[in-house]
Symmetry: C2
Subunit: 342 residues, 2 copies
């Protein structure tokens, strides 16, 4: 696929158009009177008590909050006066977040619009459109990993008001963290210990064990495997691994990228068929650099939902929030069986 077309928003932010074959982006000037950007909108603080970085982004309290559909900043804006995307149409766009938690030397926050349609979801995208989103993730991962201030590139989607999503338009986000996130660091520490003790890759071992067991497998192709993990923390949780270990999207072959888009979309479709209403979920792409302390990483996606029944949500109360001790209300095997059958 060809690279994106680049455009610049009124306050200097970058906007990238990723287009289906034959589609040519036609952006117009962004005429909004946007205030200048804060070059350092956040502060990083290290918590010595836990060894974890915390991002203090005190300028974001007034960010856009549940606008009406006709004022959606993610819909195409042909006038150049109403939207983050000044164009009559687009396929997939990525732009720098107007209210970033991370910017400048502290990293980068981007928004990715999956589709120009205000309604719908990733699961409902046509196959070639889902593949285009994957291509955009691939591109952003490559470009952001090349920046010296960025340690980790995190493509993710929060979907559903139940988890705090304030814009209904189908979209995801891409964070370039300037530090290794705490959960990633914990996983790499486990992988390092496993390599020293057994000489093998921990995540490859876990994947092989899931395949051998079979009770928690949700879907499996020649190239990818999806399963509910043995020690799932969330009421609905699925991990999707390529069968061949890579560190991040940029190491996947074209065939693997094609299959990834298809299996990923398939899993999200199963999520939405679990209940009568669309499932609130978080989708997290765990990506690693291919060297140094990240070399033991294994690219995978973790999909999670807080919905524990048709009418009830799982809340992260004190056991989870204060002690990181998760309590699951369902067995991973029963969740896998339900998802497999859908």
């Amino acid at each position: 696929m060809s690279g994106p077309s680049r455009w610049t928003l009124a306050d200097g932010r970058e906007l990238l158009f990723f287009s289906l074959p034959g589609h040519i982006p036609a952006p117009v000037a962004d005429l909004r009177p946007l205030p200048p950007r804060d070059p350092e909108p956040s502060e990083l603080r290290f918590d010595r008590a836990t060894g974890q970085w915390v991002i203090i982004a005190a300028q974001r309290q007034d960010r856009t909050y549940k606008p009406p559909a006709e004022a959606c900043p993610l819909c195409p804006g042909p006038t150049g006066r109403s939207s983050e995307v000044p164009a009559a149409d687009y396929d997939v766009v990525v732009f720098e977040n107007r209210f970033p938690s991370l910017a400048g030397d502290n990293g980068r926050c981007e928004v990715i619009c999956f589709s120009p349609d205000h309604t719908g979801s990733f699961a409902e995208l046509p196959a070639e459109h889902a593949r285009l989103v994957v291509q955009a993730w691939w591109h952003r991962t490559a470009e952001l990993l090349a920046r010296k201030e960025i340690e980790q590139v995190f493509c993710f989607e929060n979907r559903g008001e139940e988890i705090g999503v304030t814009l209904a338009h189908p979209h995801g986000q891409i964070y370039g963290y300037p530090f290794l996130t705490p959960r990633t660091a914990a996983m790499l520490a486990q992988a390092r210990e496993n390599r020293i003790a057994h000489g093998t890759n921990l995540f490859a071992d876990l994947l092989a064990a899931e395949v051998a067991d079979g009770a928690r497998i949700v879907a499996r192709t020649q190239l990818f495997t999806a399963f509910v993990p043995y020690a799932a923390r969330w009421p609905v949780e699925v991990h999707l691994y390529p069968n061949r270990r890579v560190h991040n999207l940029t190491e996947l072959t074209e065939d693997e990228l094609d299959d990834f888009a298809e299996v990923y979309r398939n899993l999200l479709g199963r999520f939405d068929r679990l209940y009568d209403a669309p499932l609130p979920y978080m989708a997290a792409l765990h990506q690693y650099r291919d060297d140094g302390e990240q070399a033991d990483g294994y690219f995978h996606v973790e999909l999670m939902s807080i919905r524990r029944s048709a009418t009830k949500l799982k809340y992260l109360a004190a056991s989870e929030s204060a002690m990181d001790a998760f309590i699951a209300d369902v067995t991973p095997e029963s969740v896998a069986a339900r998802l497999r059958a859908l």
Copy 2:
């Protein structure tokens, strides 16, 4: 203070009455036709990918969910047919949770009712009543720490429907975990490193630094100090430390226990004056054994709220939930200034 009076519920669970001076508990027989208890209601699974234990408690999906006030299982039940507390009145009671996440060899889950009144809150308790709750925590900590299957005793309160509380009656919970929780383990690892590198206690160092700085102090007595931590993760977060290091409640003197009850209640009162409505919060007592890998611990309370403004909540979406990378919307110094002024 004298010890509690013990009673037994219809299905064999323990019930303990803690009483104000001059009050004598008068329980009646629990006549409810309760089903027998599941001796092993949960399974512990170790997540090799993160090095963390997860509790799978699949029997709890049907637990009591937002009953009407007249059916509250925590109000006094003089008939012995309607409540978890078969008595016409009580001051503070503790009983084994009917729907435990942990029981038998896997630990223990207890409920603590702060008051017989269905409405109200910890912050509104009379001083001697708050002190009685502290006495109950003290007792449960001593008794549960003496059990060989319990590694960590966690007294906590979840308050507010916004964080998933399903019973409005003022109450807290006490967990006896059979393992060291992940967050506690992370903190102890930091403390161990600090001791080896500097020969000092990490938490004592952090407390001294907060006192010397002063910008984040919320309240301070001769015996206790409350502050918003430098790297606060939550929109409202206060840590309360005794000025003298102890491992858990059982090492505090009577004077310290008195002051603890008073400062703790004072802080929760400030929480409720932040906005027009009571603040949803989590209160977490971090307690440690006095030996082995827990010896570097420093007893303290962490108070947290997800309310980030009068109308908005903080959601733990993908950055927090998938990567443990917290993004705060306010500076710790501004929160401390607000709480100090209340």
